[in-house]
Amino acid sequence: MIETVIRKRIEILTDTALQRRVTDAIDRAGITGWTVTPVQSGKGREGRWREERVMGTDKVLILTIAPQDKAMALAEDIAPILTSHGLLLSMWDVEVIRGERF
């Protein structure tokens, strides 16, 4: 049987304009990588939005898998802009194969 280990999976929803700040923070936390997926539309406190890249109102979802301590370091690092820029962060435990990679 293959072995799995537990890591944190963190997903951050952010304006595309801020994508760079988030991935810089991930790099700073020493995490090995990240993956960006597109988002179409949503609703939050400021109402609905649709993806309107023409207008710079589009968002992306950034996901990264990291050991617990690095994940917490990332959350800590990113917390200030989370509030000021309205990002959305959620994280949970996942099993991964080849845990040495993360």
Partner: protein
């Protein structure tokens, strides 16, 4: 309504914009895929840049061009001061949002300019090719004024400002539309009319048709945003009509005063009247995330943009003609 205005309203370009707004108000699901809208906007910028560059390669550069550039840059720096005063004084908007909105009105809308060029060409008063360079030059100065006005409202202990400033300045100077407009303009100047003839069927012949579909999409987006608007007030809507009226008139007068031809003076008026809804909102997300995008996007995109397209371009053209006749 005079004959010229009527002609505007029978032009497919304007009618597709109206169709988009009506479809959105009727809550139709009609939508232009985003990749296509983005592509059409690249096409329009490349085409207008090329055409402007070719025109300048023919006409040459003289002091009028330099004057127009200076006038445009000056207007972009100063309009936000005026807009800020109106927003705070009349619309009672707070300092932060007033600064953010003001930046939009100092900057420009490429599609408004492009539509105006089409309308003025129809009326026999085509703007000079160098006005494309003026437009590119006016895109960003307003951002700096707007930020200076808004920053007063921001807590000095706010962290990470330094990172933001570098990013922002870069975004301001290498922003996609500035790079593409000026790049295509330079290509037009280098290739000249002979080089351009090869790509003319694509960039010239297709232009108005693409503009139709793009304005269809803009009509959909503008009207949908208006229906979802929550942070708008009557006073803000009035300001979003008042500013383009006044800025448009002042810009046209300025253009006449510095000796521009009728079409170019009108085009300068349109640039002053128009409000950005691409470059500036993107900069504000980075620099003033606390400002309410619901306010500045709805004002510039859903009120000022349709007002300019449907009414103000016509008024400004009429004013420029009158000034020239006087």
């Amino acid at each position: 309504m005079d004959a010229a205005t009527l002609e505007t309203f029978t032009s497919p370009v304007i009618l597709f914009f109206v169709l988009g707004m009506l479809a959105a108000f009727a809550r139709s699901e009609l939508a232009v895929p985003e990749a296509l809208a983005k592509g059409m906007s690249l096409y329009l910028m490349a085409a207008i840049g090329l055409k402007g560059g070719v025109a300048v390669s023919e006409s040459g550069v003289d002091t009028t061009v330099a004057h127009a550039l200076l006038a445009g840059i000056g207007a972009s720096f100063l309009i936000p001061l005026f807009a800020f005063a109106v927003l705070k004084g009349f619309a009672k908007l707070d300092t932060l949002n007033s600064g953010a909105v003001a930046a939009h009105y100092g900057s420009v809308s490429v599609v408004t300019f492009v539509t105006a060029v089409e309308v003025y060409e129809l009326r026999g008063i085509p703007p000079g090719g160098f006005m494309v360079a003026v437009m590119a030059a006016m895109e960003t100065p307003a951002i700096l004024t707007g930020l200076l006005l808004a920053r007063k409202a921001i807590d000095k202990t706010d962290a990470k400002n330094d990172q933001g400033t570098g990013e922002l300045l870069h975004e301001v100077f290498f922003n996609a539309s500035v790079v593409l407009l000026l790049g295509a303009f330079a290509i037009g100047m280098i290739s000249g009319a002979s080089g351009f003839s090869d790509v003319e069927p694509f960039f010239q012949a297709g232009f108005k048709g693409v503009l139709c579909l793009f304005l269809l999409d803009m009509g959909l987006i503008a009207a949908r945003r208006l229906m979802d608007a929550r942070a708008m007030t009557v006073r803000l809507a009035l300001v979003a009509i008042f500013l383009p009226l006044v800025n448009g008139a002042l810009g046209t007068i300025l253009g006449s005063a510095i000796g521009l031809d009728v079409g170019s003076a009108a085009a300068l008026g349109v640039l002053c009247a128009s409000a950005s809804y691409i470059a500036v909102p993107a900069a504000m997300r980075l620099a003033l995330p606390q400002a309410d995008a619901g306010i500045y996007l709805t004002m510039s995109l859903s009120v000022t943009f349709p007002f300019n397209i449907l009414v103000n371009i016509g008024l400004i053209g009429a004013l420029a003609s009158r000034l020239a006749a006087a």
